[in-house]
């Protein structure tokens, strides 16, 4: 059963890793704008010559 202490230590380390990556994401501004990407993804690049006609 001693192994459980090692496993718990590992799981905690893993969780701390996630926490740190979350902090980094917030700090680097990834949560600043959580709306625009959803609009941007729908657009294709414009055809440089022809006009789209639907």
């Amino acid at each position: 059963m001693k192994i459980i202490f090692v496993l718990i230590g590992l799981s905690l380390l893993l969780a701390i890793g996630f926490l740190i990556s979350f902090l980094w994401a917030v700090k680097s501004g990834q949560y600043k704008d959580d709306f625009t990407p959803s609009m941007r993804i729908l657009h294709d690049d414009p055809q440089s010559t022809s006009k789209k006609q639907n």
Binding site: I8, T36, K52
Partner: protein
């Protein structure tokens, strides 16, 4: 006799507005104004016309656009203030673009690099209505970038003053992250306890681990509650933070005691959960609309710079630097930034935003002119007689009302929480006294258990989730609130004051009908020729609707104040004005008519349908039925008094000829008797809006200038006003219901607690369960309330 809708039924390719008069055309497309046409040309030349296919109605009307000079953007001081250099070849600049409203905007603005090779990339933040541009300062100037944005119809809102820091938001997210991390892991390590594993070795080990994990929760994430509770005690406001902090501290210290003595597992899971839920509620409530500003003052209405004339040479000067005696050049449609004296020929100035008076004022050479007016004629020159900050209108901002901090307002939750705290302390003490003779230990356990289980998490969550959800739902219906407290404030309002011009009246040119004998093409030209000469708003509206390619010469033009105007054109006498002016039967009250006569023969009249907002009399009627007293406050003269009385009855107090300072005073007088809401729209209402208990601004478009206020109301939702006040009152019912639920859970919990039998498991189940119930209840009931009260 005919009745016709004057004007052609075409819509503008760019902005989709109806085209009034002759359209502007380009490549077989019609446009309502030159501005719209120019944008289309620019986009067409760059092959970016897909803009019009991606979303419905992407363009913004440019009819009211005035030409702006961006010369001041070449000044190094201004460049330094606006841009952020990364390297010599790369600079960053961010602009507020209030016009951003659809996915086409995002698409187009992120194609900025196609307009100039000096622009590397641009990124739009839709909710903040902001674009961030990366560019090479050696290749393209800041001014050129702004001119490109302007040319495609996105005129940036340039404000040199730094905005309030947005860093707080980030802090809250980190706090939630830390609390969530601790909460999850603590629950995991509490599992053996939940499952009743009695291994003392595990229990101790996990207990210490949980204690360590709880440290950042108490001393970082939840520390604000303890701090705020301390202030609340110090200033004797006794708000909701006191019972919250009490709960947090008692749970923390009880847990330390239990874990270190090996007597139990403590309540660390409940503690972490409490803080996590509280912070989530705070975050839910804090969402705001970054693009709307509730803090604007005269600075965002005035231009940043103006043209100074020194010895015949023109230079751009920032308006803060204008000194007494400076000679300034003001162009058509520009705002006069400072009080002064007119030095060029007679001109006319539109003071509607300052005084509420719609008709432009004729100013003679050598007469005084005031800051805030808009020039309605060719360019003029003036000499400044004061500095900007000492100008008459601007001096309004020096009043005490503008420096009062409104955020010390106590919400219903805060007011109730002191009774709540008192009640809990009484129950806890009763339990302590009951157990004390039998067992001191049990007395302590009973005392602490009560404080833990009765912790007002449920009550503290009601406000944030209820108001947060209302804020969101109302914004979808065109009602934008500054913060959550506004709903609570609106519930207490019993006096409502409307500004007249712009608030309860609409723009005239929208709906114009002609009744009478058929107008021939020549008749139209004659009427247009006369209307073209006059600056009266009614004439301007007629002129726009009858626009002709050729304008006929007139002679003997005369204007009789407030009655009508006449001239001779092609040998015929044309008269336009009130019924008595042209000599016919008077118009029925409440209707605005302009009669036309040619050679003293009355042809008919133009009917201005909605001079007052649609449903205005119903709105006032409903407000009065809701036991609110209504008054009208106007900077305009009292010629509309009889019309208003016919429309609204005599129960409405009316005040005319009030300047901005007097408006503010009037609100102050009303406040001695009750809670006053001011509903306005312009700069002239700023003082009254600030002085009132609840400032509401009516706006035709969210990118218009709006003075500082609590609520921004879309004009087309004007008829929802009474329902909104009703809704704010009904919100108290929901709070009542939430308290009932909280009391129910507390009674269950207290049953265990006073008997000193509260196990950590029971606490860990009760706490999240009650919080969850409250969240689901408030969110769904507020959604129902909005649907019931504000039917679309």
């Amino acid at each position: 006799m005919t009745t016709e809708h004057v004007g052609v039924k075409l819509t503008c390719k760019h902005c989709n507005d109806p085209v009034i008069g002759t359209p502007f055309t380009y490549k077989e497309e019609n446009f309502c104004c030159l501005g719209c046409k120019t944008v289309y040309e620019v986009l067409d030349q760059n092959n970016l016309c897909d803009y019009y296919n991606l979303a419905d109605n992407p363009g913004f009307s440019l009819k009211s656009k005035s030409k702006e000079e961006y010369e001041y953007l070449d000044e190094q001081i201004i460049i330094d203030r606006l841009t952020r250099p990364i390297s010599p070849q790369l600079s960053l600049v961010a602009f507020q673009l209030p016009q951003i409203h659809c996915s086409s905007c995002v698409w187009l603005l992120e194609k900025m690099y196609r307009f100039h090779e000096g622009i590397f990339a641009s990124k739009v933040d839709f909710l903040r209505k902001e674009v961030e541009i990366r560019y090479n300062p050696n290749n393209i100037s800041l001014r050129k970038i702004v001119e490109i944005l302007d040319s495609i119809g996105y005129k940036p809102l340039i404000e040199l003053e730094a905005h309030a820091d947005k860093g707080y938001d980030e802090q809250l997210k980190i706090k939630i992250g830390v609390a969530g991390f601790a909460f999850g892991n603590i629950m995991l390590f509490s599992f053996p306890e939940y499952l009743g594993l009695e291994d003392p070795y595990f229990r101790q080990w996990f207990g210490y681990l949980n204690l360590v994990l709880s440290l950042p929760v108490v001393f970082y994430s939840g520390f604000d509650y303890i701090k705020l509770a301390w202030y609340s005690l110090k200033y004797k406001t006794f708000d909701i933070n006191i019972p919250l902090a009490l709960g947090i501290l008692v749970m923390f210290f009880t847990s330390i005691y239990q874990v270190t003595t090996g007597t139990g597992a403590g309540y660390i899971d409940s503690l972490a959960g409490l803080v996590f839920f509280l912070l989530t509620g705070k975050w839910y409530q804090q969402r705001s609309y970054h693009y709307l500003s509730f803090e604007r003052d005269y600075k965002s209405y005035f231009p940043i710079s103006t043209t100074r004339v020194t010895k015949g040479k023109l230079t751009e000067i920032s308006i803060e630097n204008i000194e007494e005696g400076n000679e300034l050049l003001i162009k058509n449609n520009q705002i006069i930034p400072v009080d002064g004296v007119l030095t060029s020929d007679n001109t006319s100035i539109d003071y509607s935003f300052v005084t509420g008076e719609e008709i432009p004022v004729v100013v003679l050479q050598g007469e005084k002119i005031f800051a805030g007016g808009k020039l309605k004629d060719r360019s003029m020159t003036m000499v400044a007689s004061r500095k900007v900050k000492n100008s008459y209108l601007v001096s309004l901002w020096n009043d005490a009302a503008f420096h009062r901090n409104n955020d010390s307002y106590q919400t219903l939750t805060d007011r109730l929480s002191r009774y709540f705290t008192l009640a809990i302390l009484m129950v806890a003490s009763a339990g302590f006294i009951y157990w004390y003779p039998t067992s001191f230990d049990k007395a302590i356990i009973s005392f602490t258990s009560v404080l833990i289980v009765a912790c007002p998490c449920a009550i503290a969550l009601t406000g944030p989730f209820l108001y947060g959800n209302l804020l969101r739902l109302l914004s979808r219906r065109g009602i934008f609130l500054r913060n959550a407290q506004v709903v609570d404030k609106a519930a207490g309002i019993n006096t409502i004051v409307f500004d007249k011009t712009g608030t309860v009246t609409t723009q005239l040119e929208k709906e114009l009908y002609y009744h009478g004998k058929h107008l021939s093409a020549d008749d139209r030209k004659l009427i247009h020729a006369l209307a073209f000469q006059s600056v009266h708003p009614l004439s301007t509206a007629i002129e726009k609707n009858l626009r002709q390619d050729e304008i006929w010469e007139v002679s003997q033009f005369s204007e009789t104040d407030g009655r009508g105007t006449s001239c001779i054109c092609k040998g015929q006498l044309i008269k336009m004005g009130s019924a008595s002016f042209v000599g016919t039967e008077p118009a029925p009250a409440g209707e605005t008519r302009v009669y036309i006569s040619i050679d003293e023969k009355v042809l008919g009249y133009f009917n201005f349908k909605n001079q007052y907002r649609e449903g205005f009399s119903e709105v006032v009627g409903q407000l009065q039925a809701g036991h609110k007293s209504v008054s009208i406050l106007s900077g305009d003269n009292d010629k509309e008094k009889s019309n208003l009385e016919a429309l609204l009855g005599t129960g409405v107090a009316m005040r005319f000829n009030h300047d901005p300072h007097q408006k503010m005073q009037y609100i102050g007088e009303l406040q001695e008797k009750g809670k006053v809401a001011m509903i306005g729209d312009g700069l002239n209402d700023s003082g009254a809006l600030k002085q009132s208990d609840l400032g509401i601004v009516i706006t035709e478009g969210t990118n218009n200038f709006t003075p500082a206020s609590d609520i921004i109301f879309r004009a087309e939702k004007f008829d929802l006003l009474p329902s909104f006040f009703d809704l704010s009152k009904k919100a108290h019912w929901i709070i009542g219901g939430a308290y009932l639920i909280a009391v129910m859970y507390n009674t269950i919990g207290l049953g265990y607690a006073v008997n000193a039998e509260l196990s950590p498991v029971v606490a860990a189940i009760l706490m999240p369960l009650s919080s969850l119930t409250i969240v689901i209840y408030t969110v769904s009931s507020s959604a129902l309330l909005v649907r019931w009260k504000l039917k679309n």
